[in-house]
């Protein structure tokens, strides 16, 4: 049921905030960057816009809005930059979209502790520039760093390209402030570590706004890298590459970038530059930090790779990768737009999964083959490397010659097959893009009956009326509260 004018007038009177309802103005909030939504829009569908949009100016405004929502049983959909790729910010009928971009203050940089205080609406690159000007870095460089907000990244447990060294963004969180569904403000004080009971921040990191709205974070920062040392290596096949990555990790030194391309993706990397395509798989190793540390890390990695018979391709491939590290995000538009590079109605998306080292070879093949049942092309690279395993990032594409219905059909089938294949080999179905609406059907299988029941009970306890981002994570309706 749509929000009534009387109700919205009361929201304005209660909070003092402007509430936007004109569909001509609320149009940009109709979708985030979930490719399925873009495909539907490309097909000519008019995507539903939010009933209303409100943009709190600060935390106190946010509390007032949430309290009003609780009192009036109105659902809210948090919206940052609208760049999530799983539909986490998709509006639903009868709900208020909550634009959090005004909460964009970069607070104190505690240079003694290496901690920055930041509000959720800050675009991550803006924060990185702020830190760089002062000689620091957050070390969080996902492909969408130029576009996405810190709050959005925290809400989905994002990982950057240098996560092997700096960790996922959640690993940088030393404190968190969250507005709960009843308007209470929970603050987990910024401390380096704690054993004071369970870590409550974990209820909200990855919660995608379903358990609370993140209103502030204290994040660990590090001195900005003095140097970067990037280099390309060629290994004969993916399994050898995985062995090499694991060997490097086990030396106890950690490059910032360890990125292994499968053979098709290696072909795209070299072919895309007009270079001869070598036989084998490209492995990019990027080391960064203080000069002596980066140099030493590179020496150790190079020794391992040489020992394992990898071919040193020099700095070119590594430096090319760094210079074009955001390229895929741009190419996406070239490919997916009407009349794009591969014609009309292209199916295109990415899917990231993660597993233990022992499972990675099987995981790689299982998901790739499952996807290829439904799409024309699958590329993959292994990145985000940990002591115990790594993430595999697939790019999937299908040419549909203008048939938009077929494009969506293949999209849905590929996602279902790929996700189920990952789960079947014991992997996680989502490494850093979150769940949203896209992966909601597969979350119960990954968490198991008891796990999903715990999630549901946590939700019931924190948000008994299911007002916070209903439907996301597969909890509650996507139709809005009755």
């Amino acid at each position: 049921m749509a929000l009534s004018e009387v109700l919205l007038d009361d929201l304005v009177a209660t909070t003092g905030l402007a509430v936007v309802t004109d569909p001509h103005v609320t149009g940009p909030y109709a979708h985030d960057w979930w490719p399925r939504m873009l495909m539907r829009r490309r097909a000519g569908e008019e995507l539903p816009v939010p009933d209303a949009v409100v943009a709190p100016e600060d935390r106190d405004d946010l509390v007032r809005v949430i309290r009003w929502c609780a009192a009036n049983r109105v659902a809210v959909v948090p919206f940052g930059a609208g760049t999530g790729v799983c539909g986490g910010a998709t509006p639903i009928a009868g709900a208020l979209t909550l634009d959090l971009k005004h909460l964009a203050t970069i607070g104190e940089l505690d240079e003694v502790s290496g901690v920055i205080e930041v509000e959720p609406g800050v675009i991550a690159q803006r924060l990185e520039d702020h830190l760089a000007h002062r000689g620091w870095t957050l070390g969080h460089h996902p492909s969408s760093v130029h576009a996405s907000t810190i709050g959005g990244f925290l809400a989905i447990r994002s990982a950057g390209q240098a996560s092997s060294l700096h960790g996922k963004l959640e690993d940088t969180v030393v404190g968190l402030e969250v507005v709960l569904a009843d308007g209470q403000v929970l603050t987990s004080r910024p401390v380096p570590q704690s054993s004071s009971g369970p870590d409550l921040t974990r209820l909200f990191l990855g919660g995608e706004g379903t358990t609370g709205i993140i209103s502030r974070a204290w994040l660990r920062v590090r001195p900005a890298a003095e140097v970067t040392r990037d280099r390309g290596w060629l290994v004969p096949d993916l399994d050898t590459g995985l062995d090499a990555m694991r060997a490097i990790v086990r030396t106890g030194t950690m490059p910032a970038i360890l990125r292994l391309y499968d053979e098709p993706d290696t072909g795209v990397v070299f072919g895309g530059q007009g270079l001869p395509v070598p036989e084998g798989c490209l492995l990019v190793v990027g080391c960064e930090g203080r000069e002596d540390v980066a140099t030493f890390t590179e020496q150790v990695a190079s020794a391992e790779l040489t020992r394992l018979g990898a071919q040193d391709l020099g700095r070119g491939p590594g430096e090319h990768w760094r210079a074009h590290r955001h390229g895929m995000s741009y190419r996406f538009a070239d490919y997916v737009k009407p009349g794009g590079t591969f014609g009309d109605a292209l199916t295109l998306d990415t899917m990231e999964v993660a597993g233990l080292w022992r499972d990675l070879p099987q995981l790689y093949v299982a998901v790739r083959d499952a996807l290829l049942e439904h799409v024309d092309l699958v590329l993959a690279h292994i990145s985000h490397v940990y002591d115990t395993g790594a993430s595999i990032y697939y790019t999937l594409g299908a040419v549909n010659d203008g048939n938009e219905a077929q494009a969506l059909e293949r999209y849905d089938a590929a996602w279902a097959a790929g996700q189920r294949a990952a789960l079947a080999v014991g992997a996680t179905a989502s490494h850093h893009h979150g769940i949203g609406l896209l992966r909601a059907p597969y979350l119960p299988e990954e968490l198991g009956p008891a796990g999903f029941d715990v999630l549901r009970r946590v939700k019931d306890a924190l948000d008994p009326d299911h007002l916070l981002n209903p439907g996301k994570l597969g909890i509650g309706t996507t139709e809005g509260p009755s």
């Binding site: 940009p28 949009v53 000007h133 130029h146 955001h326 009407p338």
Partner: protein, 369 residues
């Protein structure tokens, strides 16, 4: 496929529709760079939102109504979005095209018609009187073209500098507008008329034309007048040894790079060299040179969307700090002053340090780069 209907919003919009459509699927990768986005937090101020609006206008997915005009107000034309863009998107051009379509449809804000009427009456598009001009010399080799928002003091200072450099100088001001601001507002026909009038401004004897306000550069060139900016021209005079400054006690100054000069023209070093030659110690804010942040003055944003303009200027003033600021754009100076900054225009900042100037420091150290 759902190709854009090129007739939906008229030829102006259709001309940029393909680019805008391309951009409407772009991943918003310039969001971080946009000073208006950062200052306002508004979703309609994200450059992607302009792509989307213009492509939807071109495709007939959005009507040409006043509510849509409100989605095209929060752009200052600062070009910051072009720096990281891999698509070479010209967002200001898209916004201008969208605004023009709305003007053609009678759906533009009333102040656009007011601006056209003001120019037709010989006033600036903002409705204010044009600046009082310094006296011109006969057979001038250099013509300074004043912008509609220049103040008289800056023009007098510019003339004094050029005369000190041995140039014969005339000053002209276009009748109402050079066309730039009218173009920005979407009033293309009026802008074309303005450019026709501009073509008659420059005397035949002129060897050099200098735009005092860099916003006028594009319009003057479009009118067929080869034009340079003041900082570059003064820099040449210094390099030639025709212009020297005296420097007293070193003082800290922040140069606010006007967006149109730094990103549009690539002029970032010349003003810094001039200020240094005049004894200034430069303090660089976080966003400077090609990555400068915006004063919120461009594209008529201060008229169309004062809240966004104020928020953008406030953010820039906070970044510039409390110290003295020098800039080379009348619009920027006006906006930053209005929000509390201590701003001097480039010519006025330099003229007191002219060698031999009565107001130059008492213990002069002659300087040239």
């Amino acid at each position: 496929m759902t190709a854009p209907r090129t007739d939906a919003a008229g030829p102006h919009t259709a001309a940029v529709a393909d680019d805008a459509l391309h951009g409407s699927y772009c991943p918003k990768m310039c969001s971080f760079a946009c000073p208006v986005t950062s200052a306002t937090g508004r979703d309609d101020a994200v450059p992607w939102s302009f792509h989307r609006t213009v492509s939807d206008l071109a495709a007939g997915r959005l009507p040409l109504v006043p509510a849509v005009a409100g989605r095209l107000t929060a752009c200052s034309g600062c070009l910051a979005c072009q720096v990281p863009c891999a698509f070479d998107q010209d967002v200001p051009a898209q916004v201008r095209a969208g605004r023009a379509a709305l003007v053609d449809a009678g759906a533009a804000p009333v102040l656009v018609a007011d601006a056209v009427a003001a120019v037709d009456a010989g006033r600036a598009p903002t409705g204010t009187d044009l600046p009082e001009l310094p006296a011109s010399e006969d057979e001038a080799g250099t013509v300074i073209v004043a912008g509609c928002r220049d103040d008289s003091a800056s023009l007098h200072a510019a003339v004094a500098l050029l005369r000190a450099a041995g140039e014969r100088v005339a000053v002209r001001v276009p009748e109402g507008c050079c066309g730039a601001l009218l173009d920005d507002l979407g009033a293309r026909d009026a802008a074309d008329r303005a450019r026709t009038r501009v073509a008659d401004l420059v005397p035949a004897t002129a060897e050099t034309v200098v735009a005092n306000d860099p916003h006028c550069l594009g319009s003057l060139r479009a009118a067929g007048i080869e034009t340079t900016d003041l900082a570059t021209h003064l820099g040449t005079a210094v390099a030639d040894g025709r212009l020297t400054f005296t420097a007293g006690d070193e003082r800290s100054v922040t140069w606010h790079d006007p967006c149109v000069l730094a990103r549009g023209e690539g002029v970032t070093d010349a003003p810094r060299r001039l200020l240094t030659a005049a004894g200034a110690s430069l303090v660089e804010p976080e966003h400077h040179a090609r990555h400068t942040a915006c004063s919120g003055a461009g594209m008529g944003m201060d008229q169309l969307d004062p809240d966004a303009a104020d928020a953008t200027a406030d953010a820039r003033v906070r970044e510039l700090g409390a110290g003295p600021v020098v800039t080379g754009c009348a619009r920027a100076a006006e906006r930053l002053r209005a929000r509390g900054a201590d701003v001097t225009d480039l010519a006025s900042a330099l003229v007191t340090h002219l060698a031999g100037s009565p107001s130059s420091p008492s213990d002069p150290e002659r300087r040239s780069p």
